[in-house]
């Protein structure tokens, strides 16, 4: 659980940094999106690395959810359930729903108002110009932040790392990550990016 969580987390970090390139303008952002696919070329065929990443992510999601269900199951057998664990589990489910919608929106573009095949910049801007979508993203991002906040502490303990600064660091980390994601929809909403 810790391993899969942390792998997904590292993806998120990279993804967040990538997203921030939107402030560098349409071209940089679109180039970046393209680079994602052409990474390693010509040594490696197009999309290899991206596909590998995708596979790893899918495996992680499945493994992560499987252990989450097991944990839940064991707790139920031990006759327990309350606030913190519930937040973690429902938080996780929200994350999952978000990812599904998010993929439909920006990867497969079926749920996107523009759905431009080679212009993710447009797609992003188009999405976030609809306030319900932005609201949903923001809520989901906060849920993700909370999930990660506890997730990092928990992952550290699971991996046997203990240090008095861990709670602080994971709070700060989760906060930065959430803000890093949030600024994009926020920027579109206030018109800073269009």
């Amino acid at each position: 659980m810790a391993t899969t969580g942390l792998i997904m987390l590292s993806y998120l970090v990279a993804h967040m940094i990538g997203n921030l390139k939107i402030f560098a303008g349409r071209q940089t952002f679109n180039q970046y999106a393209d680079w994602l696919r052409t990474m390693g070329e010509p040594a490696i065929p197009r999309r290899t690395i991206l596909t590998l990443i995708e596979i790893v992510l899918v495996v992680c999601v499945i493994a992560h959810i499987t252990s989450a269900v097991q944990l839940w199951h064991r707790a139920q057998r031990a006759h327990k359930s309350d606030y913190t664990t519930r937040t973690m589990r429902w938080g996780g489910v929200i994350v999952a729903l978000f990812v599904v919608y998010h993929l439909l929106d920006l990867t497969f573009r079926v749920a996107n108002p523009v759905g431009a095949a080679h212009d993710p910049y447009d797609n992003v801007v188009a999405s976030f110009q609809q306030w319900p979508v932005t609201a949903f993203y923001m809520l989901a991002l906060i849920a993700i932040g909370l999930h990660i906040r506890h997730g990092i502490t928990s992952a550290m303990a699971s991996l046997g790392v203990s240090h008095p600064a861990i709670p602080l660091v994971s709070n700060a980390f989760a906060f930065l990550l959430t803000v890093g994601f949030l600024v994009v929809p926020f920027a579109v909403l206030i018109g800073a990016v269009s």
Partner: protein, 246 residues
Amino acid sequence: MNLTLRIWRQPNAETAGKLVDYQIHDIGKDLSFLEMLDVLNERLASNNEEPIAFDSDCREGICGMCGLVIDGVPHGPSQGTTCQLHMRSFHDGQTITVEPWRAATFPVIRDLVVDRTPLDRIIQAGGYISAPTGSAPEANALPVPKADAEAAFDAAACIGCGACVAACPNGSAMLFTAAKAAHLAHLPQGQPERKTRARGMVEAQDELGFGGCSTVGACTTVCPKDIPLATIAQLNRDVLRPARSR
């Protein structure tokens, strides 16, 4: 002071239980919580009603026998064990709910008494140093740095009360398990069996039906001996590291 007590009554493991209200009057502030229950029991018994079953022995916070969930909190509102709780922590007219430890691994035997033998099983799965009587070297042959001895003691202070399990939303016994592992892992005598011990105890706690730990931390909050959360991380480290390495 006068109080209303809502106490869990359950005749045995097979029969369902329920909360029953009792009124109790003229309770002095200097009485301990358990002495207050003694007073109630004495009254019930002299009226030929069945007294409330609860566990206690040393009544000074060291044996780990007592343990009640008072107003939803294992061991009640003050730091320490149930037997160290005094009535001055409550106020006149208060309603106090008293329940047993809640966890499937600790089935209720009667009223407020639960069966905690699974904790013994965890220790049996490796919570010891194999040092048969007679085989010991001279005590000062192996110096132990003071800091290590102190750290070992901090963990060894666990009284095995099970409040951590009662508090944990996952019903995990990780804090208890980790405390024993940490006690022995801090000492040079505990090194040879360190990995097998950690693994054995964690496997046992899983097999016995305790939940997994997801670092909620409710356990440390109620622990009367302040066993820190870091001990769990330490245990996980010993479980994860390959058996050969330290």
